[in-house]
């Protein structure tokens, strides 16, 4: 009897979810609408995702995020599952993954499955096993919930093509912000191969959007798109490098999301990559900047040129930091400014701006009106003028930054 058979399902689940927790992505939104009203299947997806629980690390639990196995032949320094680590190993059978997914789903614990894996035998073998699980869920169990498959970049294109037929989302991790650090810390991985696989997914998605010569629509291919993740803080890359790379990834591969994952201590770490306290504040600022790039019309340079070292200001959110450096553009007259200008006001989100534009057709806005529309006036007040509000000298006051930044820490006398 081999060692594996002796592990209980509970123990395997413990090992293989522990190993999966470093993947940040948990989205279950943006896929095609499905339900099981016909009574022949289980599950539904309706546009927005649902977070079924939150762990004390503040991350949502939407999907059953597990590894198929944490055995791995690669030796990536940042990874808990690398071949040279002494963590306990386990492997799920196809049945076990299917049963866990369905039984958790029926009890409304999850939106679906996020399946990833260490590389066993070869990339093709591993990918084929993962595709088998997804296929079984869809075709035999008629599961209509969400499936996210972590794709193995070195796997054959045909396997990746097949994966997209069953999965809502495919993701391939670029792992680290620069090619050089991937080569240093993940010696078996090739940045070009990773990009090629992402390009392959994009091509498939686009090819499947075109109807055939008879006007028939081909089956949906990964309807929730593809995403990627990079680890922040393990190498020396600056925020400017990271965001520049992310912008390129969004453009080249039409990614839905780039996830930034603060490098976090792992059990049995390697000496090659010393453990640090995870840079959570930095991770947060990167996400804020990412949003500004995608939804607020900012350019990478505008956001990252604040500091000479190319990093974001950890004390201030990136939009506020930008506004403080560009005070000549403020205050903005809320009753007249266009959408692009309003989006750049600190304290205004996209929803607030839409509301302002709609309400302006009825009346000229006052200070209290903005509060009712959901603006954060603590941030916005120095940067706007309204019918009954003008910031006066506040916009250009030297103490403005101090209003927002946390107070400097008092040094202790010895």
């Amino acid at each position: 009897m081999n060692i594996m058979a002796r592990l209980t399902l509970d123990r395997k689940l413990a090992i293989l979810s522990d190993a999966a927790r470093y993947d940040a992505s948990c989205a279950s939104s943006g896929t095609s609408r499905r339900d099981s009203r016909d009574g022949k299947g289980l599950g539904s997806t309706e546009g927005s995702g649902i977070c079924h629980a939150y762990a004390p690390d503040g991350r949502c639990i939407s999907l059953l995020k597990i590894l198929m196995t944490n055995f791995c032949i690669y030796d990536c320094a940042y990874c808990v599952n690398r071949v040279s680590s002494n963590v306990e190993r386990a492997r799920f059978s196809v049945d076990e993954v299917v049963t866990l997914t369905l039984e958790f789903y029926r009890r409304n614990y999850i939106e679906g499955l996020f399946l990833s894996s260490g590389i066993i035998r070869s990339p093709d073998d591993t990918m084929a096993d993962m595709v088998r699980i997804a296929k079984r869920l869809r075709e035999e169990e008629h599961f209509r919930g969400y499936i996210h498959l972590k794709t193995i970049p070195d796997a054959a294109q045909e396997l990746i093509d097949e994966a997209g037929l069953y999965a809502d989302r495919l993701s391939i991790n670029v792992e680290l912000p620069t090619d050089a650090s991937v080569r240093t810390y993940a010696p078996e991985k090739d940045p070009a191969t990773i990009r090629r696989a992402m390009g392959g997914v994009r091509q498939q998605r686009e090819a499947r959007k075109e109807p055939s010569h008879r006007g028939k629509r081909p089956p949906c291919y990964a309807p929730a798109g593809q995403s990627t993740q990079m680890i922040v803080g393990a190498d020396g890359a600056t925020d400017a490098t990271i965001l520049g790379n992310a912008t390129r990834l969004y453009g080249d591969y039409q990614l839905k999301r780039v996830y930034y994952s603060a490098f976090s201590p792992i059990p049995d770490a390697t000496a090659a990559l010393p453990l640090i306290k995870p840079p959570l504040a930095r991770e947060h600022r990167l996400y804020q900047a990412d949003w500004l790039l995608r939804f607020y019309g900012f350019g990478v340079d505008e956001i990252t040129s604040a500091r000479p070292d190319g990093n974001l200001d950890l004390d201030l959110d990136p939009k506020l930091a930008w506004a403080l450096r560009n005070r000549h553009l403020f205050p903005v007259e809320v009753n007249r400014a266009d959408r692009e200008t309003l989006l750049r006001v600190p304290g205004f989100g996209t929803k607030t701006v839409t509301r302002i534009l709609a309400t302006r057709r009825h009346r000229s806005l006052r200070y209290d009106d903005l509060r009712r529309m959901g603006a954060s006036l603590k941030k916005a007040a120095p940067f706007v003028t309204l019918l009954d509000w003008t910031p006066g000298g506040l916009t250009d006051s030297a103490a403005l930054r101090a209003r927002f930044a946390p107070p400097p820490e008092q040094l202790q006398l010895l």
């Binding site: 399902l9 689940l13 413990a14 090992i15 979810s17 999966a20 927790r21 339900d35 099981s36 009203r37 009574g39 022949k40 289980l42 599950g43 539904s44 649902i50 977070c51 079924h52 629980a53 939150y54 762990a55 004390p56 690390d57 503040g58 991350r59 949502c60 032949i73 071949v83 680590s85 002494n86 039984e103 958790f104 029926r106 009890r107 409304n108 620069t178 078996e188 990009r195 090629r196 390009g199 994009r202 490098t241 080249d252 591969y253 976090s264 201590p265 792992i266 059990p267 049995d268 390697t270 306290k277 995870p278 959570l280 709609a358 309400t359 057709r361 009825h362 806005l365 009712r372 529309m373």
Partner: protein, 480 residues
Amino acid sequence: MYQVTLPRIGTATAWRDAVRAALAAQVPPERIAWHHGTAADSLFEGAPLPPCDRPVKVSRAFVELADTVIWHADPERFSRLYILLRRLRTQPGLLSDRADPQVAKLRQMEKAVRRCQHKMKAFVRFRDLRPVGPDGGPAPRRSFAAWFEPTHYTLEPTAPFFARRFADMDWVIATPDATAVFENGTLSFREGAPRPDLPEDAAEELWGTYFRNIFNPARVKVRAMTSEMPRKYWKNMPETRHIPELLATAEARTREMAEAAPTLAPARAARVRDRLAAPRVEARMTWDDLATRAAEENRETPEGYGRLVLGEGPPDARLMVVGEQPGDVEDREGRPFVGPAGQLFDRCLAQAGIDRGETYVTNAVKRFKFTVKGKRRIHQSPDRADIEHARWWITREIELLKPALVLGLGGTAAETLTGTRAGILKRRGTVEDTRYGPVFLTVHPSFILRVREADRKVEEERRFVADLEAARTRLDQLAA
């Protein structure tokens, strides 16, 4: 004073009937007392509204707002909605005025109900009622039940979500105010009941295991957790009982990870590494081998084709340019990109600031294909077979050179490198990832030569140079 009592189940429909009647009778809002569930203790005398079947037209936006707000727990909601409805008769655009205090208040209530609905979808936890069927095997149709305590009256509007999702099983969701029952595909509602005794479910143990292990002890963020999963929901969620222990041990676990000395790699690691490091079984080719092979090929030339022309450029070039096929001049000289199109290309390349001396130039198809007309050899476009025939050569060149970026000029190069030539004018200026690495596509310079009108020619040349500049920028980025 009118007294209106709306039932706990079917509140929305009853409210609509009532306001229709109230509008028809032009009852001012302050003269209606609204009650929910049980009839009012008749402290005040009052009559019911006169019935009315006349339809009333209101905007769709209001119906959506009312259908949500009606489930709010605030007893004022019925009269607030009625007041707004009356105002809408004279101010039809009022709903888009987010600054109006009454609209803002109702929108805020709408948001609260939607959030409550969302949390119900998220936090209802079913327990299995019949894990085994009568014969000991699994039950034919599974059956589940849950107890949930929503903040507002959100069971009725939210139950259809569960019906769409869990259609192949029977289920019951019980709340203090109402109970939803889904049996054999039919959804119905009953009055609320006290908390039922639900059987233990073994899956909760496994779910707890998952919850404990997906948590990363190095990144404790309690506020982020409680703002999305408020404590009031915890008592009906099995996983939350692990939270205190997880928080209590997080710091120590993180410290242990940091302090643990690096361990020796397991024996397996060395075996795997050796296997991965073993050289792949494939004949290593060199540039010289390739040239020798080409010379052998050139001992005879097929009918209608020129000789085999290989690319040229430094073996460490980072940019590889792939054209279509050699032309008449290239065939005579045995070198790529020396004819009229090649000269135009050189000029544009220089304008874009790319050094031809640091670039490897070659063609997708290696032999000039032509028909003879009088003394002249007329260019023929390569077909699929020509492309596939030449693929071995271009593949070897790319393998040997390992360029950072391949610049594909025109349809033939696009087909060779990306699999399709379709839409080249739309795809120009973009980078595509292929099995040959990143490929930057643009048009072939002969396309510019064929343009007759002088000003369009200038314009096309300008666009071509712009593409080359973009390729150069890309190359610089790839180096960064």
